[in-house]
């Protein structure tokens, strides 16, 4: 086979990055010359749309409308918001509430999310079971819970961006939204994570050519609250913030799942194994070992094999 028949169309790889979803979103794509940049722009536009719908910070977002009025009246929502809420509810049911999008009041109290002066006071006795998805893509709150989709919407945005690249005829691509990433294409890509105790250090963790990885760790997200260091990783049962020094990476078929499952593993690594198995996902927990200076890696798949 000569070069002319094996490569009928010259290709190029373009990598671009934009500040979206509260982080730097990077999109890489390889495809026919002249078509790649436009496909990347379209993918960025889709992510921007999802941000506008599901941002907690933005008082004009659809999510803010649910938080503000969802208890009084059913709120009709966009297809994207509906898909994310439906998946969140399913994940909550499967994980028995280890995944819960109603932890926003705790995040606000700790200073991770802004206060919205005009929002009604959040109930202390509500959880994911008080979100009701009605026909015609309408959302009703049965208690005055407050939703934050940041633990799942970022992964969803990555999935949508990947779908746009694929439908634009891109051969291989990668979307990385600050730790939630998904790849497709023929070549394997090595996924690196930061060392949990020293985030400027990175290490190769796993190889992927199709699928998603999401990493959750507290190293860049800690802040001081009431004289102690807290993280935005909230346990849904106790509503207390984790002070864990481990990083959790979940590998799954899509990024929304991977993103959400990191919270399940963070909340309860032991109970999480059956949830991971249900979704055919895999978790890798990296924990610093102060004695050796290295890191231990705990693998849920190894546990499944051993059992």
């Amino acid at each position: 086979m000569n070069a002319a028949t094996s490569l009928p169309v010259p290709t190029e790889e373009i990598i671009r990055a934009r500040p979206l979803l509260g982080t730097l979103v990077e999109i890489a794509a390889t495809g026919a010359i002249g078509r790649v940049s436009h496909a990347i722009s379209q993918a960025f536009d889709a992510i921007a749309e999802i941000q506008a719908l599901m941002s907690y910070q933005d008082p004009a977002s659809e999510l803010s409308r649910i938080n503000q009025f969802g208890f009084t009246d059913p709120v009709p929502v966009h297809h994207h918001t509906w898909t994310v809420l439906r998946s969140a509810q399913e994940l909550s049911a499967t994980s028995r509430g280890l995944f819960d999008v109603t932890i926003a009041p705790t995040l606000t109290r700790l200073g991770f999310l802004p206060r919205h002066a005009n929002f009604p006071r959040a109930s202390r006795h509500g959880d994911w079971r008080h979100i009701v998805l009605l026909p015609d893509q309408r959302v009703q709150l049965m208690r005055q819970v407050r939703l934050d989709l940041s633990g799942i919407a970022k992964g969803y945005a990555v999935d949508v961006a990947i779908a746009i690249l694929q439908s634009a005829g891109i051969h291989a691509g990668r979307v990385n939204a600050g730790g939630d990433l998904r790849v497709f294409g023929a070549t394997e890509q090595t996924i690196h994570v930061r060392a949990p105790h020293a985030p400027t250090q990175t290490m190769p963790l796993v190889q992927l050519n199709e699928g998603a990885a999401a990493t959750s760790a507290a190293y860049f997200a800690q802040r001081r609250h009431a004289q102690r260091s807290v993280t935005p990783l909230i346990h849904p049962y106790t509503r207390s913030a984790s002070s864990s020094e481990r990083s959790i990476t979940v590998l799954a078929s899509n990024c929304m799942l991977a993103d959400a499952l990191t919270k399940v593993v963070q909340a309860d690594p032991v109970q999480a194994t059956s949830v991971l198995a249900h979704y055919q996902a895999r978790a890798l927990i990296v924990e610093h070992d102060p004695v050796s200076g290295g890191c231990h890696v705990f693998d849920s798949l190894q546990q499944a094999r051993a059992a």
Binding site: R18, P19, S292
Partner: protein, 181 residues
Amino acid sequence: MHKLSPWFYTPALILPAVISAPALGVQYLNLEQAQKALFPSADHFESVNVNLTPAQRQQIEKSSGVKVRVNEIKAWRAKQGDSTNGWFLLDEVIGKHELITYAVAIGLDGAVQGVEILDYREGHGGAVRNANWRAQFKGKKTSSPLRLDEDIRNLSGATLSCQHLTEGVRRLLATQAIALK
């Protein structure tokens, strides 16, 4: 990790490799590519050099709430034939862990049309400056079974604050409104 040990098998001890500054960096686009990405239909870019006067500086700081550190503004008019499509501004922000070169496209209506990153260079965080911490990695690089790939493209878990970038965009919006006509 006593709680996990019975459940999770420990296959390997990974030693993170020490990276020298600039630890991680990537150039996404050069100037021309960024201009084309933000204004695909423009056919040329007219450079406009502006040095902010003290009064303008003050005005920008007041209107954006962000400190102005550099007086020279790097701006271009995006032209399509004789007509102007908008403004292209090039700027840099320094965050806690990173230096970011970025460009903002501002339409003639004064609204942001897009933000594109040109360069991203991540510096050292606090942990690495600590000599004691660094000492424990000394000599371990060569013995590490895992090769460090100097590539952040596949880095999972890189949730860096984009706050400085957001502030930069706000500052440039005010700059355009006040100093670029």
